[in-house]
Each structure stands twice: as structure tokens, then as C-alpha cells.
């Protein structure tokens, strides 16, 4: 072991973990709940978006609270995916499945978020714009998968988060926490998919 140590490796991994929950995970949850307003119809939805968009300093807030954390988490996450090597065919345990789905969903989320932001934040965001996207069957599948994968990634990430921070140490607490995470996954996915269904009517 070298006598001088650069603990940056540890620090970066912990920051990556923290960003997954704060702010990214919290934002994701908030974002999906807020979009339930689409159930109220086009007029209400466009009004909500308008309020958000005209919020003073929204660009700076979005940059600091959303874009930069996601970019950092995604870039480093992609590196983490690269340093792994799945062996699902030999070791078919449930957690090994989750390990790989965590990575696949992360990568999918990168593609999804870029497309999503490109289409709606750079482009025009409105009820009509989203409706146009998801009435195309491929667009619908792309969006539904985006929601399911992002929420899975968050929920399963929370399960791992509790280990990374040494909260759930033993197998029993890890199991109980996995039930809580499953519940969160179900609730947030249902919310996300009902956002989507609003645009299909």
C-alpha cells in the first residue's frame, strides 16, 4: 500500500450514490407526481408547465438541481457499468438479476433522458407535444419503458443505497428494506404510467 493516499475514488463513489437519491431520485418522484396534472386535461397541464417554465431563475435551478447531478451520475455510472462483467448464465440468483437490470436500466435511462429533454425542454413542451409523441406506438413503448426502467433503477438503487451507507447491515434488514423498495417501485410506476395514459385519451 502506498503511504500517500488519494481517497478520491471512495469519495466519487459515495457522491455518485448520494446523487442517485438527492436530488435525482427525489426529482424523479416529484416529476412523476406533478405530471398527474395531465389527468386534468390539456388546459390544466399546460398551465402547470407554464408556471414551472416562468418560474424566476428556473434555468439555473434546473441546471444545478437536475442537469448537472444527472450528468455526473450518468457519466460515472456508465464507467461503473463498464467495470462490471455479468455472469448471469452461471449464477442465476435474484440479486444477480437485479445487478444487471440496474445497469441496463441506467443505460436505457441515459438514452431516454437525452431524448426526452431534447424533445420537450429544448423543443416545445405542451400537452399536444407529448400527445403527439405517445400516440405513435413506438413513442409509447419508448416512454413506458423509460418510466418503468427509471423507477426500477431508483427503487433498486435505494435498496443498494442503504447498503452503501451502512444502514441495512444484515440480511434480514436488507430483505425488509427490499419489500419497502418494491412497494415504492409499484407506487411510483403506477403514478408514472397513469401520467402517460392521460395523453392517450
Amino acid at each position: 500500500m502506498s503511504s500517500v493516499q488519494s481517497p478520491y475514488h471512495f469519495l466519487i463513489r459515495r457522491i455518485h450514490s448520494l446523487l442517485g437519491l438527492l436530488p435525482i431520485g427525489v426529482f424523479l418522484t416529484f416529476h412523476l407526481f406533478l405530471n398527474l396534472s395531465a389527468q386534468g386535461g390539456a388546459a390544466l397541464y399546460d398551465k402547470v408547465i407554464g408556471t414551472m417554465r416562468n418560474f424566476p431563475g428556473i434555468f439555473v435551478i434546473e441546471l444545478i438541481v437536475i442537469f448537472i447531478p444527472i450528468a455526473v451520475h450518468a457519466v460515472y455510472g456508465t464507467w461503473v457499468v463498464y467495470t462490471g462483467q455479468s455472469n448471469l448464465l452461471k449464477y442465476r440468483y435474484a440479486r444477480n438479476w437485479f445487478y444487471i437490470i440496474q445497469r441496463v436500466s441506467g443505460l436505457y435511462t441515459v438514452v431516454f433522458v437525452i431524448t426526452h429533454v431534447w424533445a420537450l425542454r429544448v423543443g416545445e413542451a405542451s400537452f399536444a407535444a407529448l400527445q403527439h409523441l405517445v400516440t405513435n406506438p413506438w413513442g409509447l413503448v419508448f416512454y413506458a419503458l423509460g418510466i418503468i426502467f427509471a423507477v426500477f433503477h431508483f427503487a433498486n438503487g435505494l435498496w443498494a443505497f442503504a447498503i452503501t451507507w451502512g444502514l441495512t447491515v444484515g440480511p434480514h434488514s436488507q430483505k425488509i428494506w427490499s419489500y419497502v423498495c418494491t412497494l415504492l417501485f409499484i407506487v411510483i410506476t403506477v403514478v408514472g404510467l397513469s401520467d402517460l395514459s392521460a395523453f392517450l385519451r
Binding site: M1, P7, H9, F10, T83, I163, V169
Partner: protein
Amino acid sequence: MAEGKTIRLKIRRQDGPDKPSRWEEFSLPYRPKMNVISCLMEVQKYPVTSDGKVTSPVVWECNCLEEVCGACTMNINGQARQACSALIDQLQQPVVLEPLTKFPLIRDLMVDRQIMFDNLKKVRAWIPIDGTYDLGPGPRMAEVKRQWAYELSKCMTCGCCMEACPQINARSKFIGPAAISQVRLFNAHPTGEMNKHERLAALLDEGGIADCGNAQNCVQACPKQIPLTTSLADLNRETNKFAVSRWLRK
């Protein structure tokens, strides 16, 4: 079981680190209560493949023959385990034998597990008591602690956990769960605890504890039922506390 039955072995052979690999099959007369090592000994006595081709004897390692040294670890029907405790009567045939894939190959089923011992050195998995005079008896260890620490001490550096871990591969420097779990063992020891900071510091390095991806294969693969994932989570907590505290005191 019936007379005249045979045991079929399918072995991945390789004459050296840079040589091509090939499959060879062997049939041995069945005897009850054989294990993979005793089969390999039969092959050594009579190195002729199922189709009658004379070949070189298969190279493998073993030592204790009672699942405590770890030397005979290999992939048996796709799973890393000890050949000495792999009973033929409980295995599906043909029994497929392959070397471990996460370690440099020496020959046939023999690999070099040196990296695991190097990793133990990296994390200082020992208790430094050497000196120029008698230090006297150390502090006592609480019995409850001794009980769980004993479980961790059963590690035989066999490499099953390394083989099963997706985070151990050519692209990663991860030292693996076995060495990490030893940090917990030596930090639990009342004398070892005095050098706790050195072991925790080592875990913050590249390849240290943060490289675990929580696939939890290791705990399933460990033949000694060592609670590796508990050790990992416990040391996550300890390293977090240690890193923050060290930084605040800087």
C-alpha cells in the same frame, strides 16, 4: 449402484498460459463415494481419453482434502467449488471441470491465486504484535464477538467468491469480498483493533470497498457460509465514518 457403470468427466485442458484450450473426455469405472479429486487421480494413473487417445495427465492442485485449504477450487458443472468435497454421487454427468476464470491460468485446472494473498497484504489482514520485547497478554475478547468473528476466520482464500463476483474482471481493480471481510475480522480483534485505521484506509483506495456492486453472488458462492454481504455493509458503515472523521480532523 450397478456394476459396469462409468463416470464421465469432461475437462477443459490447456498446456500453459499462452496455449490454446481444448476439451477432453474421460470415462472411469464407477466406484461408490468418489469425489472429483479421486476421479482426477484415476485419470492421472491412466491418462487415456474416452476415444482411446493417450494424453498427458491432467494437472490440478489439492492439499487438505477436507475443504479447508481452498487449493482444489475449480469450476465444476459451471460453479466454483472445491473438488475434494464435490461428491460424484451428487453431480450431474458428464462432470464438467474447468479452471477458475478470474485468476491467471498455470496449466489445466491449476491457477495462480496469488492476487488474493496480495490483497490480504493490501488491507493488512494481520495483527502486528512483533517487537523487541514481550508485550504481555492482550485484552480479552467478548465471547459474543468471538462467536461471529470465528465465522469470518473460516475463510480459506479459495476464490469462489471472486469467481462469482461480477465486479472482478480484467477491467476492474476490485480486491473482492474475501479480503474485505478479513478487515472486519481483524478489526474485531481487541489487539487488531489498535490498527483499525490502517485497514480502513486501505479500503478507501481504488479497488476497495466502494467497487462492490451489491450483486451478492459472493455470499451464495462461499462454501464456508461466511456472511460476506454483512461484512461489506458493516464496513461500508465503518469506512464512511472513518473517511468523514479523518477529513474533519485534518
